[in-house]
Structures are given as structure tokens and as C-alpha cells.
Amino acid sequence: MIPTIPRSRSFRVLYGGYVLLFFLYLALPLTVVAVFAFNDSQFPSLPWEGFTWNWFFGEDRPQIGVFHERGILRSVGTSAFVAACVAVLSVSVGTTNAFLFNRYEFRGKGALYVLMLLPLVIPGIVLGISILVFSSTLANGIWNAAEVDIQALRPGLLLVILGQFSFITTIATLVITARLQKFDRTLEEAALNLGATRLTAVRTITIPFLMPAMIGAVVVAFLMSFENFNTTLMLVGSDAPLTIAMFDRLKEGSTPLLNAVSLLLMLGSSILALVVILFQRR
């Protein structure tokens, strides 16, 4: 079953057809979402009422476009803010974790490594509720003790950021550790030998070496945060990130406005994804 082993023509046609079908299956929902963003109708479904840009640039109801819809724009801003915080936090902690696991031998290292992997196998909803439960236990405790209400511990952006950070950090750690393992430690020794202090050696040699992985991790973390739904759903307060805002609208019934948002999301993610791939290729 490799090209060097001859196969009957019908087998090859069948196999090729199957693969083609698979990619159609992959492409179909996304294509449909994209196409109906341009339907001049109140519904993202047939019949096709003609082409329009209104769902992007329309200024008046009922066909108000993405760029004039306050609610959507605000939620995009919220998502971007959350994603930026999560990306910076998780890549910072991911980097320190990578150094810890790569450079130090200590008791309980194996157990700690497994614990570090766990957030990947905990369902996102459970992660969300456990943080929700704990933060309100904390908030209630503080209220009972000092009669101070810490708003930050109630559902809201801080909890959303912490919730997403709690599992995206694992991914950042894995990405950066993988790169650090490929680092040749003698480069750092060479830097020491040439007069650098330990910290300078890390700053001038190791960090530049890790940079592609760190940038890759920032983009991946940003995308994962931007698209996260499960954990966010449990922790969200009054400021809804984009996925939650879209979910609420979808439940009420959809208009091609959602298609337009989705298409923009697809474009944005694809561009970011391309950036990651280009960086990793270098």
C-alpha cells in the first residue's frame, strides 16, 4: 500500500475518491458559512436572494453589517483582550516550566510533569466549574471574614482569563519544552566561557533560540483563547467574549451577520495560522 507496490486501477480510483470525499466533508460546512455571508436575505439559507456586502458594511437595520454592529465589535474587543492576556501569561509560565523540567532534577519531578499534563485531559466544562466553585468559595470566605466583596472573584473576565490560562499553559509548556530539548547546552557553556554571566547567556543565546517556539506558542495560545467556548461558558460574567456572544445570538435564530463574523474569524485565524507555520519553517 505504498506507491512502489502496484495496485489495481480500481483500488486507486476508489482510494483517491475516498480521500476526495473526506476533504469535501472537511470543506463543506466552512464553505457554506462563508458563502451565505453574502446572501441578500434575512436568513443564512436558500433561496439565494443575490449578492450583497451589507452583512459586512451595512449601516441600517435590518441589514446591519459587522463593522457597524456595536455588540459584536465590543465582544471582539473583549475576546482580543482576554486572548492577549492568556497568550502572554501562558507563554511566560510555559517558558519557566520548560526551563524547570529541562534543567533541574528534583524529587517528584515525574509526578509534577504528569500533573502538568492533566489540564489537557480534564474536560473544559469541569475545569470551568472547578475554578468557578473555588473562586466563589474564596470570595464568600473573604466576605464572611472581612465583609469585603471582591468582585474580581465573581464570574467575569479575570476568571475567564484564569480558566483559559489553566489549560493553555500546558500546551505552551509542551511546545517550548520540545524546542528547549533540542538546544545544545554547550552553546550556553561557550557563552559563559566567553565572559557572559548565567543570566546573560540565557538572555543572549537560549532565548533567541527559543524565540520561534515562543512566538508559535503565543499565536496558538491566542487562537485557542479566542475560540474557547466550554471553559469560558462557565466563567463568563457580563462582558461576553465573541464566541459566547455569537452563541447567544445563534440560540435566538441566526442572520447572515453571524456568517459574516464567522468568515472574518476564519480569515483572521488562517492568517495567524499561516504566521505560525512560516515561523516554524524558519
Binding site: E189, A190, L192, N193, L194, I205
Partner: protein, 363 residues
């Protein structure tokens, strides 16, 4: 004159194993000093202790007379060319060479000037803007040396830097390294397991085995006057026989081999009758002739049969089986006289007692 580098009673233990066992040596200024030994003999450990990446268990390391034990690696006046060079792949050549100068806080313009000078001296002017992976193996080698030399270290350590090169380039770099050392007029301490690298380049060579120095001397000393059986076996090649001493007259003696041959040799150190001993004879010291008369001047003579021809150009040899059934390696003279030698031919061989070195046996 104070030596540039001095190690005194240096010991390094890792748990139960002693990697470096009471080693002392000193390296005079401006010389090329090699530590030669098989892998695992402890030579890398010595080098890492000098560079400061390992702390000795006991003993002292002095550079220009002052101890450096309390000096961290980044403050020691020694620099190191790493085994795989450890050039920084994310930097240009100029940034690599300027790295140490930037750490000293030197002004940019001055760094640029120094880097250009260094590139001139290694014969690669104008390559400063290139990336590391654009250079050939030999060029990288020179850049790695330049990166250290701009810092004007008291001692330059080289950790088998030619190991990764192919054979032809390695031959070339041996000569070039020696020339660079002369040009920079700096003390080089070079470790290698390749005897030819050590012999060609060094002023002094220390042969190391199992954590100890077996002998320190010039290449000629080691080759012609090995102090221990290990050195005799490690430097160059040798035929060897074990046996018991029959007779001693000053430094010359006679030994009866385990196979029953009587053999005349020169004692490398004091031996007396009845001692077990070992004799080493280099293949190139053995003469080969068609008849016994031609070998009359040699104390040791025997005849045998050619069992194999090992043709290798100038280093061609034959294996000769003597009457006792032992096989000797004999270098074939390149005079053309033996060009027609073939397997099975009867030959006479002989060598002088002065070329046969005798050591006390392992008992």
C-alpha cells in the same frame, strides 16, 4: 618564567569513580600542549575543570601563577574551542566573534574594528555578515578560534575540535592550527584521542590513561623512548612479546618469550633476571631481506613466511609468520626491492636490540 597554566595534584571523583587521579603538569608560555588519551581517560574532565565547568575534588589550578579555583567560568582568563565548536547559530559571524567583547562592555566601533582584525588574521576577511551555516567546516573552525582569540586569553583550550571534520580537511587543519598558534603566540592546550594530531602539532604531549598521566614529553620522546608499556602500545604500532628475563647486562638484556624464542632488547627501566617482561618492536624497525647475511648486523634475526600483504601505499606492511607460529607486522620498504613479494614467500627479518624496548610485565 611562570608557567601560563599549572595543575597541581588535581583530583576529580564522581561518586566512586576517580576520573582524574592526582595529575600535575605545567605549560610554559607560548607553547602547544596536548593531552592525548583514549576516550574516557579523563582528559575532557581536566579541560572542563580548567574552564571552570567542573570543580576539582582536590588540587589546584593556577593561571599565570594565581589560583583560579574561586573564579567562575565567565571570569577565567581561559577560553575554549568546543568539540562541536558551539558557534551561536542565531548570530552572524561578526556577532559570534564580538560576543565576548560585548560582554566586556566594549564600545561598538571598537568591537567592529577588533572583529575585522580577527577575521583578517584567520584569513577570512569580509565574511562578518554571513551566517554560521554558510561556512565550511574549516572556516567554522577558524571562526571558533577567532571568537576566543579576540579576548586575548592567557590559555586557549581546544577540545578535540577536529573530530567532526573529514580526513583530508583534518590533515590540513593540523598544519593550520599550528600556524595560528604561532601567529597568536598564545598557549594552546589541546585534547585529542588522535595521536597524529598530537604528534604533528604539539611542543609537549601528555599521554593519559585511566585518569593518570603516563608520560609527558615531546613527540620524539613518546615515540622513541616510551616510559610505560601503555605509551609504547598507544603511540605508533608495535609487535609485542611477553616472557621472562634470562640475562641482564647494563641496559641491554635477553628475554625468553613464552613461545621459546630468545630475544635481545633494551630495558626502558631497571629489570633483573627472572622478571616477567614485555618487549615492543615497531613494524618500521623490522628489516626484511631475502637472505640471512643481509641482516647480520642485527641482534635479533628470524625467518618466516609471508601470510598476508597489507597494501596501503607508503604505509604498506606484510604479516610474517615466524617458525614459532607467531605473526609479526613488518613495514615494507618503498625501494621497490620487495614489490614482487607474494603470499607464501620465505623471508628473513631482523631488528636491533636498541629498537626493542623492554618493560616489566603485568606479572
Amino acid at each position: 618564567m611562570t608557567p601560563d597554566l599549572e595543575c597541581v595534584d588535581l583530583v576529580k571523583r564522581f561518586g566512586d569513580t576517580t576520573a582524574v587521579d592526582d595529575v600535575s603538569f605545567s605549560v610554559p608560555p607560548g607553547s602547544f600542549f596536548s593531552i592525548l588519551g583514549p576516550s574516557g581517560c579523563g582528559k575532557t574532565t581536566i579541560m572542563r575543570m580548567i574552564a571552570g565547568f567542573l570543580d576539582p575534588t582536590s588540587g589546584d589550578i593556577r593561571i599565570k601563577g594565581g589560583t583560579v579555583l574561586d573564579t567562575p567560568p565567565n571570569k577565567r582568563p581561559v577560553n575554549m574551542v568546543f568539540q562541536h565548536l558551539a558557534l551561536f547559530p542565531m548570530m552572524t559571524i561578526a556577532d559570534n566573534i564580538g560576543y565576548g567583547l560585548r560582554r566586556q562592555g566594549m564600545a561598538k566601533a571598537q568591537i567592529a574594528r577588533k572583529v575585522d582584525e580577527a577575521l583578517d588574521r584567520i584569513g577570512l576577511p569580509g565574511i562578518g555578515a554571513r551566517k554560521v551555516d554558510e561556512l565550511s567546516g574549516g572556516q567554522k573552525q577558524r571562526v571558533a578560534i577567532a571568537r576566543c582569540m579576540v579576548l586575548e586569553p592567557d590559555v586557549l583550550l581546544l577540545d578535540e575540535p577536529l573530530g567532526a571534520l573529514d580526513l583530508k580537511l583534518r590533515e590540513h587543519m593540523k598544519i593550520e592550527l599550528k600556524a595560528l598558534q604561532a601567529a597568536f603566540d598564545t598557549t594552546f592546550v589541546y585534547i585529542t584521542h588522535d595521536q597524529s594530531e598530537a604528534l604533528v602539532m604539539s611542543d609537549q604531549i601528555a599521554v593519559m590513561n585511566a585518569g593518570r598521566f603516563e608520560q609527558v614529553g615531546t613527540g620524539q620522546d613518546l615515540y622513541y623512548r616510551p616510559a610505560t608499556p601503555f605509551v609504547a602500545g598507544f603511540i605508533g604500532e608495535a609487535n609485542r612479546w611477553t616472557g621472562r628475563i634470562d640475562r641482564v647486562e647494563g641496559s641491554s638484556l635477553e628475554m625468553r618469550t613464552d613461545t621459546g624464542l630468545a630475544m635481545r632488547a633494551t630495558a626502558a627501566h631497571a629489570l633483573s633476571k627472572g622478571d616477567t617482561a614485555e618487549i615492543f618492536v615497531r613494524p618500521e624497525s623490522v628489516h626484511i631481506a631475502a637472505n640471512a647475511e643481509a641482516l647480520a648486523q642485527f641482534e635479533n634475526r628470524m625467518q618466516g613466511r609471508v601470510t598476508s600483504l597489507l597494501f596501503n601505499g607508503a604505509a604498506s606492511r606484510v604479516l610474517v609468520e615466524d617458525d614459532a607460529g607467531e605473526t609479526l607486522e613488518v613495514t615494507l620498504p618503498q625501494t621497490g626491492e620487495f614489490a614482487s613479494l607474494k603470499r607464501g614467500d620465505k623471508v628473513h627479518i631482523g631488528w636491533g636490540a636498541a629498537q626493542a624496548m623492554c618493560f616489566a610485565g603485568a606479572a
